[in-house]
Amino acid sequence: MSTFLVKLREQPWLWAFVGTIAMWLATSLVTGAQGSGQVLSAAFSFATFFVIVAIGQMFVITLGPGNVDLSIPACMTLAGTVAMKLMAGSDGMILVGLLAAIGCGFAVGIFNFALIRLLSIPPIIATLSASFLIQSSAIAYNRGLRVKPPAALAEFTTTRIGGIPVLAIAVMLLAIVMHIVLTRTVYGRSVLAIGQNSKAAFLAGIRVERIRFATYVLSAVFAATCGYFLAGFSGGAALNMGEEYLLASIAVVVIGGSSVAGGYSNVPGLWGAALFLFLMVTMLNTFGASAGLRLIMTGLIIIVVITLAGGRKR
């Protein structure tokens, strides 16, 4: 038992879950038993979307310093609008829409990596310039119209089993798969190795550029998938639907206990951090904090977490 506890304390994702439980209990004090169940259920539906994009962002950040995907919001918006417009509210087109969204993700990921390689520029700049173009394409394609999602898709994204959204269960399974991919497959181990020392990884025979390519495509595809389901969940694609996900995706990765410098990452922490962020906002809400105060607290908590986590490993 004690070895189990010792091992548990060493897990980098522990604090995100401790924080989550603390926030939930604090909220429950105000809302009571009935309300706290509803709060948790809502937390799962919103955290799901954070987790999808954060998984992709985490793989990119794991690649090492300078690797961040800033095109996530634009990619979400483009995928969401293209899919919604293509489906035009028809249930029969749901699969086609999903494929179109994933196709957008592939295109964005390939474009991002092409910029990184061909122009030999830092990924931050590449994904930033790409995001300008992608966002513009989405604006021009959509012209501000909000196309309703097919009824079946909207229903799927809001269905709950025993209070837990079906989508959340699916993303939990996805998280388990990605956890195995990160820790047990050649690809995942290569990503970690590149993040720890890309030169050593190269000398060890890892095809660094191929792995980086796959990772940027992975991130974009996850962002696109998230855009698709988020558009279904929130009644259509909006041009600013991805806005908060840029900061949130990085914040979730960091709070989840992954190293921002790359090389050390974990998937469980993403769920902990996503739930934590949502529950914190909910708690501040139930305590009657204004929008401004909620933002300030969110920012301060991100800084406090990184300050505490930063001292842990160097």
């Binding site: 300078g66 961040v68 800033l70 910029l115 061909l118 122009l119 030999s120 520029i121 830092p122 931050i124 700049i125 930033l128 310039s129 790409a130 995001s131 300008f132 173009l133 966002q135 513009s136 394409s137 604006i139 021009a140 012209r143 900061l247 990085i250 914040a251 960091v254 921002v260 410098a261 204004s290 929008a291 401004g292 105060l293 909620r294 933002l295 300030i296 607290m297 969110t298 920012g299 301060l300 908590i301 991100i302 800084i303 990184i306 300050t307 930063g310 001292g311 160097r314």
Partner: protein
């Protein structure tokens, strides 16, 4: 190969060349833009963007990145249209406080060796929160002196142009010509060797962050001098624009390799992109797309120049 045209020279001329090219294209399409009034209209809003870009450049000099500068300019704008107008003393104190917070951020990032991206990202929430608290609904009004200053009518050249040139030269002098500027850039190049040489890394980082805060404040004030009102989200897009401006101007991400004059030109180039589309009768939907395209184009040219350099 002609010895006068070296890759190095080409690379440093690239920002000015791309700006001139874009301006020439605009004049070709719409000759009437080639006037005092036309230039003023096109470049007016470039001044706050240029100032925000310089703020970003200060942080990039020491190998960091500021993802909160847009929100920061927003909070300055909100302070400017409320406290600075009604209770100037409180307004000035608040703005000084903002700069002090920036210096403190530099200290925190240096002492705990934190990733600047995450800290400034967190701060962007904090700034936005403050902005919402100070000015919950869009509005407010600008101090008269500020409005008068930003709409100054200068002879021959529009004020926006004169101001941009002055700012660029001043920062160029400060960072490229003074001893401390060299030290700051050196800290970006190799922080460890600068510390070995006896310079305080902490002091350098705090100074550069405070400078970033200072130019962020100027950007916010310049912005409301032109718009006459503010809202919390007024400058959020400045974060990405300012990074793009620094890179467009020939700055590099690491190693303290920056160019203040280039950064101002880069910011003005991004500002012109909007006007260019208008004159081409292309829908404003593509404005940010055009900015991205210019950025990619210039980076591609730079990659070509670098390649030519390596071949030699």
């Amino acid at each position: 190969m002609n010895r006068l045209i070296t890759p190095r020279m080409l690379r440093s001329a690239l920002p000015a060349l791309s700006f001139t090219f874009l301006l020439a294209a605009i004049f070709y399409i719409q000759p009437r833009a080639m006037s005092y009034f036309g230039l003023n209209l096109m470049l007016n809003l470039g001044v706050p963007i240029a100032l925000a870009t310089l703020a970003q450049m200060m942080v990039i000099t020491v190998n960091d990145l500021d993802l909160g500068i847009g929100a920061f300019v927003g909070v300055v704008a909100c302070i400017g249209v409320t406290w600075l107008k009604e209770t100037p003393l409180l307004g000035v104190a608040a703005l000084l406080g903002c700069i002090a917070i920036y210096a403190a951020l530099g200290a925190l990032i240096h002492l705990r060796n934190l990733p600047s991206i995450v800290v400034t990202l967190g701060m962007s929430f904090v700034w936005l929160g403050f902005a919402v608290l100070i000015l919950p609904t869009p509005g407010g009004s600008v101090p008269d002196w500020l409005r008068a200053f930003m709409t100054l009518k200068t002879p021959y050249l529009p004020f926006a142009v004169i101001l941009s040139i002055l700012i660029a030269l001043l920062v160029h002098w400060g960072l490229m010509r003074t001893a401390y500027g060299t030290i700051a850039r050196g800290a970006g190049g190799n922080p460890r060797s600068m510390e070995q040489a006896g310079w305080s890394g902490l002091r350098i980082k705090m100074t550069m962050y405070a400078m970033a805060g200072f130019f962020g404040v100027l950007a916010g004030l310049a912005l409301i001098g032109l718009t006459t009102s503010a809202d919390a989200n007024i400058a959020l897009r400045y974060t990405l624009l300012s990074i793009a401006g620094v890179i467009l101007g020939g700055g590099e991400f690491v190693g303290g390799r920056i160019s203040p004059i280039g950064a101002v030109i880069g910011a003005l180039t991004l500002t012109l992109a909007g006007s260019f589309l208008t004159f081409l009768r292309i829908s404003p939907d593509w404005q940010i797309g055009a900015q991205g395209a210019i950025l990619i184009l210039v980076l591609a040219l730079r990659a070509l120049i670098n390649q030519a350099e390596r071949k030699k």
